[in-house]
Symmetry: C2
Subunit: 441 residues, 2 copies
Amino acid sequence: MASGLTMDKIVSLARRRGFVFPSSEIYGGLGSSYDYGHYGVLLKENVKARWLEAMVQERDDIVALDSAIILHPRIWEASGHVGGFTDPLVDCRTCKKRFRADHLADEQCGRKPSKRPGETSECDLTEARQFNLMFETRVGPVEETGQRVFLRPETAQGIFVNFKNVAQLARRKPPFGIAQVGKSFRNEITPGNFIFRTLEFEQMEMEFFVPPDQAEQWHEHWMQARMDWYVSLGIDAERLRLRAHDADELSHYSSATSDIEYLYPIGWSELEGIANRGDFDLKQHAEYSGEKLEYFDPNAGERYVPHVIEPSAGVGRTVLALLCDAYDTDEIGGEKRTVLRLSPAVAPVKVAVLPLLRKDGHPEKAREIYLELRKHVSAEYDEGGAIGRRYRRQDEIGTPLAITVDHQTLEDDTVTVRDRDTLAQERVPVSELVARTSTAH
Amino acid sequence: MASGLTMDKIVSLARRRGFVFPSSEIYGGLGSSYDYGHYGVLLKENVKARWLEAMVQERDDIVALDSAIILHPRIWEASGHVGGFTDPLVDCRTCKKRFRADHLADEQCGRKPSKRPGETSECDLTEARQFNLMFETRVGPVEETGQRVFLRPETAQGIFVNFKNVAQLARRKPPFGIAQVGKSFRNEITPGNFIFRTLEFEQMEMEFFVPPDQAEQWHEHWMQARMDWYVSLGIDAERLRLRAHDADELSHYSSATSDIEYLYPIGWSELEGIANRGDFDLKQHAEYSGEKLEYFDPNAGERYVPHVIEPSAGVGRTVLALLCDAYDTDEIGGEKRTVLRLSPAVAPVKVAVLPLLRKDGHPEKAREIYLELRKHVSAEYDEGGAIGRRYRRQDEIGTPLAITVDHQTLEDDTVTVRDRDTLAQERVPVSELVARTSTAH
């Protein structure tokens, strides 16, 4: 991360290079809603692929699931979301703005921006009311008779209600996990900080079912494993930390939660929560559905309700942390450069192929190389503008390697390979390029 | 496809092996809503990855986008969905059931199942009323003041409203395309046929913007390219066909549409629509947003509104076609076998590693091989039950190759590789296994 990095710089780069931009922009936008452009999609897909590799492909105690977004409404009664997933809101009768009662100290009265609401008699606040954060809609064609349902506020419940089903199908016994990637929706009162908090967001959640007496040791395991994962994506360990929730921060279902926090430009903030959810969810769903959600251990001759350890990560927050962490500026030959030092494991484009000149057979040879490379990795071909400017463009989107085709290429079938970070240029035979660019991913 | 294949057999296999099963099952389900289990997720992810490869990675005239599900509500006025995305419904006063007025001939009165509604005076139908298929919800915490918004019924509009933005950022000029994969939602009156029609579904849509006089030729191009793609996934070309819409079938925005249809057990049905949307969408959004959505061609000195060719595919329908097409039964040594003859390009598991015996060092050696292979491909290790039964299990989920470790492996470091389709068993050195199993994907 560059020193003095601000969120504005990240927002600006994301906009300029088409990673992420405000949604519905030609209609004036829609609250804190964002669309991912080309490089944003590639980066985000890489994050999800690395998570699925680490969680599912490289383990045999975790299976994948993709449950529906609109689930049976009783699920949200059982989970406690219908009753308790609320924010307390107050209205100011003076400035007509709405605030979260529990965040008043962070907010400012719209009428008197120099004062904080509640500080002076100028602000006239209503009593706090509880507002549910779930989006509601109706299934069935008629408003009057349609069934009231909710957009899921977390993917986790879709996992809990499938616990028994999946355990049988996958022939698994605790400890084992179910992993899911998908969108969730929260009608947040105060979304903000770019893609840190948005109305709709992608989650990567894994529920790990364990014998009750192993819960603590697995909680420890997952805290470490998840920290290691962020480091494996290239994030600086110095800007990651684990923070245990205080008793008054804990969710209703949790006996212990630690957050993995990243040092964003807005300060240390949650990247992932790792909760010990105990047997809360399975017991609730057993009660509300009438289905036994237990495991019978034939060796011990015992029946028990597994406890659950849940590492719950945000895709958008991971993308934001990667952009912040990779953002850097330096100087090349007296010229300022912005560069994203993204790991090849997540970089949207792995290699760019550039003809030195737009003539003398350079473009033809460069395209030939590009067409071969793109069968294996995400690659780009660019012949527009001076070579220095094309390097800068790739630096800004975090492309680790740039291949340049020049007159020598046509003589000895070698190219220069430029390293984004060291700026070293190495002469490499064309025949070695596939291996060279595919090793990272 | 096995002769005499029924949808019930597919539903049963999908349930039994955990590809797809009813959602919210412990609560009695929720209409036509399904969850994808482990193998279903892996198969589905492969479909989407192959689409993104073909559309984005292996072309340089198409870029990726991921727009929000909840867009500015004016977008759906401009697109015609608020006014026209409706089904005509009638109620039967006798049996109290609801029917689509345009599908009456296919439906049966609940009271008199042997008669069709409308055929006799026993059925007393109301006048048809128009019901919008979009799910509605509200953004903002308070029911009374929240902004009415919709869950997108197609991903396409998120592309159109970003046309100018993306063209500039990606430095593209027509012909070029924008590709998007994501969930859409339709409050269908009569969902059904397993995952063929569901309330929420994933789409793979690409909008290809072209100069108006090239629209027809690009329409032709995409019909062929998309047919080829399905064949590349291993689907039998004999069970694919192109069918041009009659004039009275065309959507309000389309001047010509052809469907790629697959011969499902329920008959020829739509797999993908390839529409010539003309300039309808860009003109509508230009009018409603006040933004010019045009392209200025500097060579011709002309300004024009590009026309759009749209290949729009369903992920669920592709998964269903793959399952139907791959489903087969045969006999091995007098025993009946169910086998999914899935292409390695989409198979959920590429290779299974099986110790012949559960002793004599077989499991240790087999796990060593498995741990190496899973770094590269989706692999499974299985030591439970007789070897024949383990082969059958892999056959049913479509695993192309099964590696067996036996006593000879410990002597000469070779294994047997069994081919799912030919049943041929070949002796292969362990050192060649990574290359052998990774070639397909």
